[in-house]
Amino acid sequence: MAARDPVIVGIGLSDHPQAPHLDSIQHHVQAMQRALGDAGLEKRAIDGYVCAGMEAGAMEAVFMAEYLGIDHRYIDGTMTGGSSFEFHVQHAAAAIRDGACDTVLVTYGSDFLSRRGRTLGTGGFRGTGKVSGAAMYSAPYGLSLVGDYAMVARRHMHEFGTTSEQLAEIAVGVREYAALNPNALYREPIRVADVLASRMISDPLHLLDCCVVSDGGGAFLMTTAERARDLAQPAVRVLGAAGGQTHWSIHQMPDYTTSAGAKCIPEAFARAGVRPADVSTLQFYDSFTITVLVLLEDAGFCKKGEGGAFVAEGHLRRGGRFPLNTDGGGLSACHSGMRGIFLIIEAVRQLRGQAGVAQVRGANLALAVGSGGSLSCIGAVVLGKE
């Protein structure tokens, strides 16, 4: 490993999945404090700051940098929705390698459940006020966020014969991991039949095809391989990262069965010099079951259209070849609006061998893929054991 190779050295989660005692800012703060403690770093070592969130919108990074009192020489507030943090890893890794800064803090915090309730996916996110720009071509028609993904699922079923049972397998497998996580919002085991029997939110997506809404925040610290030698935890290497965008509004999605992941995930693999078969665990954005299916195909774990059959073979389950979302995912454990940071944190936990009963044996390579918007902005990060 070269001296300035970027590594992740600290992780922290704020109280979740329900934390009425914390507001969004307190989630950022608590997660940062825990990441610093985990790494064995002093706050003054931080000279780069990166964040995204829904508290101050486009100003989140500078607002939070002031609140936290970060004296930074590198800042990035890239906002691509839930995948922001995968883009952040890409950017921070380049900044560290380049010498723009040495130690980067990334934070996120959201009190979504406690403050705004469960309406995120069923209309509440979009509101009914005055609209302009691209939203004028969708807002009159009452499409919810769940509906965006339902249109993807419907087209995937039409083109490839994908079934609701196959999609349900994803929710069932992730719930199996949630049962192992005391902090997961839902832990009761479910079967495919339970997913199919749950109420239809937006055909063909049922309630249990959709992620939970929770509170929660996260933070991680990145630095150089050289500095990591003196710190408390085994360093996790950033081996490759790439991102891309095909659209923002769902009505602009060029191909309703393919995301920007079809280009950027193979690029992240190429940068890391590895292939899908080498991966030990997948941490994928599971806003909906269909999100995972599309990303899985785009990543090259199977051919386009074969995701349903691939999932049904159990590869993503506990004990399978590519265990998925070992913290219980957004589908069952924790999704406070922008889940991407939790993918990185869980990947690090696995690669350190600190995932307890959910530990994937021999985990040495993790793929985290975030999806922002409506399968719009995809960020892929390949992480490896030191």
Partner: protein
């Protein structure tokens, strides 16, 4: 395309810029517009002040107002008025015969009757002073694709 006027508009109010207004004004006259680049021929929707293919200027073109459902969903839960009072309803991406896609509700038939490939035709509903937006219903006659 038929224009329905005078119906109370309770859906989100639209605030088009001067560059975007021609689309909504044309709809209020019964014309469905999209854009085609005079330089490279690229067709696009929604309307913009540039061609997204070649960065040239975009120009307006008139669509026949017919197309086929490319994908769709039946929305069964939406907490926002007025949509919550209209559940369940269909939101579709319609691929126009001219090749561009537009989102819209498919109305006038049971939601379960909608399928990918269903031929639909546009109608417009007034949504403000001199502006309207397109909606869709099952096309009369015409082959299914």
């Amino acid at each position: 395309m038929q224009v329905i006027r005078g119906r109370k508009w309770e859906r989100p109010q639209l605030a088009p810029s001067p560059a975007e207004r021609p689309f909504f004004e044309a709809a209020a006259r019964g014309e469905l517009l999209y854009q085609q680049c005079p330089r490279c021929g690229h067709r696009q929707f929604y309307p913009r002040v540039l061609c997204t293919a070649c960065a040239g200027e975009a120009a307006w073109a008139t669509a026949a107002g017919r197309g086929a459902v490319h994908t769709f969903t039946i929305v069964r839960q939406n907490g926002q008025p007025p949509f919550r009072d209209e559940l369940p309803y269909v939101v579709a991406m319609v691929e126009l015969d001219e090749g561009v896609r537009m989102m819209g509700n498919v109305t006038g038939c049971p939601p379960e009757a909608v399928h990918i490939g269903l031929r639909v035709e546009a109608y417009a509903v007034e949504c403000g002073e001199g502006i309207a937006v397109p909606f869709w219903r099952v096309a009369k006659g015409g082959p299914e694709t």
